[in-house]
C-alpha cells in the first residue's frame, strides 16, 4: 500500500463530482487526483494511467461529451439515442479497460463490465433477481420483448398488471421513464418526457416537469417512439410496486454502498411516481422512513442494498434505489446506479460520499478477485448511523 495513493479519475473536468472527489482526496492528505477527461477517452487521444486506482466517474452533464457519445441524436434534451449512446459508452469503457491493462500498476476501482450492466436494465434486473435481491416483477424479457404500445398492452394483459413502469433500457435519471396506469378503457401516463410532433414525426424531449398523458393515441405514440429507440431487445417493463407513502408523498431511498457497506442514505419523496430529485422533488426525512418501517424492516432493507451491491463486486461504490412497499413490510431494489454517489452534504461518520470512497481506497479496498491487502474491518455494520 503506497503511503500517498495517487487516484486517477476519468470524468468531466470542472464537474462537481470531480471537485468533490478532489476535495475528499486532499482532506485525506492524498495528492491531487489525476484527471483524465471523458472527451479524451472518446476522441481517441493517447492515454496512460499512472500506478494506482482508476476511478471511473459519470460522463454526464457535459454537452461536448454528450455529442461525442451521441450519434444522430446529439441534442442533450432529446430522449432518443439511448442505445446509440450506450454502445459508444460501452466501447469507451472498453478503451479505459485496455489502457488500464497496458498501464503498469494501474487498476480499476469501477469495473467496466459492472458499469455496463448497471446501465442496461434488461441485464441488471435478472442479475439482481438471480442473487435473491427483491426486485419489482418484470413483464419484459428476452422471450417477451416490449417494442411497441401494442406489445406493452399485451404483456400487461397477460401478466395481469394494470399499472407498470416502462423504462428505456439504458436511461438514467428517469429519462424516458413512463409510469402507466390503465383502468378499463382509460389510460394515464405520467412522465417527464415531452412528446412533440413535427414534420419529421414524433420527437421526445427530457423535461424537468412531470406531465400526464391521458389520450391513448398520445400514450401509444410515446411508447412506440421509446420502443423504436430501444432496439430489438425492447423496453424494460416492471409492475408498479406501490411505494411507501408518507404525508401524501411517495418515498424511496438512495442508499450508497461503498466497499460492501451501506453508508449514505437519502430519502426522496414526491407527489408524482418519479422520485428523482432533479424533477423538483424534495429530499425526504430518513429518520421518518426508518421509524415508519421499523428497525427490523430497515435492517433487512440495508442488507438487501449490500447484497445488490455484491452483484457488482469489482466496483467500489454503487447507489441503490431502494423502494419500501406501501405496506411497510416489503421492499425491492428499483435500480443500481454506477454513478449514484452525487449526494452532496450527506455524511456518514463525518465523511461525504467521496470521502467514504477515499477512506475505502486508503484502507486497502481492492476489486473482488484481485490480490492485495483486505479491507480494514473497523466499521463493519449492516446499516448506517
Amino acid at each position: 500500500m503506497p503511503e500517498r495513493l495517487l487516484v486517477t479519475v476519468v470524468g468531466n473536468p470542472g464537474h462537481r463530482r470531480i471537485t468533490g472527489f478532489a476535495a475528499a482526496a486532499a482532506a485525506a492528505g492524498l495528492p491531487a487526483p489525476r484527471l483524465v477527461a471523458w472527451r479524451d477517452v472518446l476522441s481517441g487521444a493517447p492515454l496512460a494511467f499512472p500506478p494506482g486506482p482508476v476511478r471511473i466517474d459519470s460522463p454526464g452533464e457535459d454537452p461536448a461529451v454528450h455529442a461525442l457519445l451521441g450519434g444522430t441524436h446529439a441534442d442533450p434534451h432529446r430522449v432518443e439515442g439511448g442505445s446509440t449512446r450506450h454502445a459508444a459508452f460501452v466501447a469507451a469503457l472498453g478503451r479505459i479497460e485496455a489502457v488500464a491493462a497496458a498501464s503498469p500498476g494501474a487498476w480499476l476501482a469501477n469495473d467496466p463490465a459492472d458499469i455496463a450492466v448497471m446501465f442496461d436494465k434488461r441485464r441488471a434486473h435478472p442479475l439482481l433477481e438471480s442473487h435473491d435481491v427483491p426486485v419489482p416483477r418484470a413483464l419484459s424479457g428476452p422471450a417477451a420483448p416490449v417494442r411497441s404500445y401494442a406489445e406493452l398492452r399485451q404483456r400487461m394483459a397477460d401478466a395481469r398488471a394494470p399499472r407498470v413502469f416502462v423504462k428505456p433500457p439504458h436511461g438514467s435519471s428517469a429519462s424516458g421513464v413512463v409510469a402507466l396506469e390503465t383502468h378499463g378503457t382509460r389510460v394515464q401516463a405520467t412522465t417527464s418526457v415531452e412528446l412533440t410532433r413535427g414534420a419529421d414525426g414524433v420527437a421526445l424531449f427530457n423535461s424537468l416537469r412531470i406531465r400526464k398523458y391521458r389520450d391513448e393515441t398520445e400514450v401509444a405514440a410515446l411508447v412506440d417512439a421509446l420502443g423504436a429507440d430501444a432496439g430489438p431487445g425492447g423496453l424494460h417493463v416492471e409492475a408498479w410496486l406501490p411505494k411507501l407513502t408518507l404525508d401524501g408523498h411517495a418515498t424511496d431511498l438512495r442508499v450508497l454502498v461503498v466497499a460492501g457497506r451501506a453508508t449514505h442514505v437519502v430519502a426522496r419523496s414526491s407527489r408524482s411516481p418519479m422520485t428523482n430529485l432533479h424533477l423538483g422533488n424534495a429530499r425526504g426525512d430518513v429518520p421518518a422512513v426508518r421509524a415508519a418501517v421499523g428497525e427490523d424492516a430497515w435492517a433487512r432493507a440495508m442488507a438487501t442494498c449490500v447484497r445488490a451491491a455484491g452483484c457488482f463486486p469489482r466496483t467500489l461504490h454503487v447507489g441503490v434505489d431502494l423502494l419500501f412497499a406501501v405496506d411497510r413490510r416489503r421492499h425491492a431494489v428499483g435500480e443500481v446506479n454506477a454513478f449514484g454517489d452525487l449526494l452532496p452534504g450527506v455524511l456518514h461518520r463525518g465523511r461525504d460520499t467521496w470521502g467514504e470512497q477515499v477512506h475505502a481506497l486508503v484502507g486497502g479496498w481492492r476489486p473482488y478477485g484481485s490480490t492485495g491487502p483486505a479491507a480494514r474491518d473497523e466499521d463493519r455494520v449492516p446499516c448506517p448511523t
Binding site: 394494470p162 399499472r163 416537469r209 401524501g248
Partner: protein
C-alpha cells in the same frame, strides 16, 4: 398533491390488520383497524374474515377499508357486502372509511365503488362514514339518525351521491365534506349542490365542505343564495378553483356574518379580491393565488 393514508381515524390511531400468523399490535379497542392487502396470499375478504375471528368485535370502534387491490379494476362491492353482513359482530362500530388508498396503490379516480347504502343501513349506530374514490352513491330517502360526519373524497363525484344526501333524512349529521374532482360527472354533481342546499333533511348541519372542485365558482354562487347557508357555521371551499367571479358572488349574496370560518385555501383570486375577501369574510390570511407553471386553466389541488 395526492390523497393520504389516515394516521388516525375515529379518534384512534390507525393500525393495519396484520397478515396471517403475524402478531397483533394491541387489543381491538386501542386502534382504528385498517384491512388492506398488497399482492398478498390473503384476499381482502379473507383478511377481513380473519379479523372478525381474531379480535373482540365488540371492542372495535373504527374500521378502514384499505386497498383491496383496487388497481385490478374491482370496485368495493365485495368489501361493502362483507362489512354489512358483519354488523352483528361489530356492534359498537362508530367510524367507517371505505377506500383508505393512496395514489401509489391506485389513482383516485380509478378507485371504484358502487351503491354504499348497505353500510349506513346495517350500522344504525355509525357516527362517521367516509369514502374515497369514484362512483359511490346512496339510494335516495335514506334515513340515519346516528350519523354525524359524512365524507366523500371523490374525483368525479356522482350527482347520485349529492342527490342521495339531499333527499335523505340525517337529523344528527353536522359535518358533510365532498370532493368533486375534475371529471365530467362532477359537473352534474355541482348542479345538484343547489338541491343539497335546499334539503330539509339536514337540520343539524353546521359544516359543509365543497372541496377540490373544478367549478368552485358555481358552488360559491349557490352558497350565496340558497337557504341552508344560513345554518352553517363553517364552510370549506378549499382545494378548488375559486376565481374573482365566485368571490364576488359570496360578497354580494346573502349575509355571511354568522360564519365562523370560510376556508378558501388553494384559490385563483386577484390581489385586489384577496384584500376585499379578507376584509369582509372570516377567511383568515389568504396565500397568493395558485399559479400553474404552464399557464393552463385553473386547477384543483388533488388531481392524480
Amino acid at each position: 398533491m395526492t390523497a393520504n393514508h389516515f394516521q388516525a381515524f375515529g379518534g384512534l390511531p390507525v393500525e393495519d390488520v396484520p397478515g396471517a400468523g403475524e402478531p397483533w399490535p394491541g387489543t381491538a379497542e386501542l386502534y382504528a383497524w385498517r384491512v388492506r392487502v398488497l399482492h398478498d396470499d390473503e384476499t381482502w375478504s379473507e383478511r377481513f374474515a380473519r379479523f372478525l375471528d381474531e379480535v373482540d368485535g365488540g371492542a372495535v370502534r373504527a374500521l378502514l377499508v384499505g386497498d383491496w387491490n383496487a388497481e385490478y379494476g374491482d370496485d368495493s362491492r365485495e368489501a361493502v357486502a362483507a362489512i354489512a353482513a358483519a354488523a352483528d359482530r361489530l356492534p359498537n362500530l362508530a367510524a367507517l372509511f371505505v377506500g383508505d388508498i393512496a395514489y401509489e396503490e391506485c389513482e383516485l379516480s380509478m378507485i371504484e365503488h358502487d351503491d354504499l347504502t348497505a353500510l349506513p343501513t346495517a350500522y344504525p349506530r355509525l357516527e362517521e362514514l367516509g369514502v374515497r374514490g369514484s362512483w359511490a352513491w346512496f339510494a335516495p330517502y335514506l334515513r340515519h339518525t346516528g350519523l354525524r360526519t359524512l365524507t366523500v373524497e371523490g374525483c368525479g363525484l356522482l350527482d347520485e351521491m349529492v342527490r342521495g344526501i339531499a333527499a335523505g333524512d340525517f337529523p344528527a349529521l353536522t359535518r358533510v365534506e365532498l370532493w368533486f374532482g375534475d371529471h365530467e360527472h362532477a359537473v352534474d354533481a355541482v348542479t345538484e349542490v343547489t338541491e343539497l342546499l335546499r334539503s330539509h333533511g339536514l337540520p343539524a348541519l353546521t359544516h359543509l365542505g365543497l372541496r377540490n372542485c373544478d367549478r368552485t365558482d358555481a358552488l360559491a354562487a349557490a352558497l350565496a343564495v340558497e337557504p341552508l347557508t344560513a345554518q352553517l357555521r363553517t364552510i370549506d371551499l378549499s382545494m378548488g378553483t375559486l376565481s374573482d367571479a365566485g368571490a364576488e358572488a359570496l360578497l354580494s349574496g346573502q349575509p355571511l356574518g354568522h360564519l365562523e370560518s370560510l376556508d378558501l385555501t388553494h384559490h385563483f383570486l386577484s390581489t385586489t379580491m384577496i384584500k376585499r375577501v379578507e376584509a369582509a369574510l372570516p377567511v383568515g390570511k389568504l396565500a397568493k393565488a395558485e399559479v400553474d407553471p404552464k399557464f393552463e386553466a385553473r386547477f384543483i389541488e388533488v388531481r392524480e
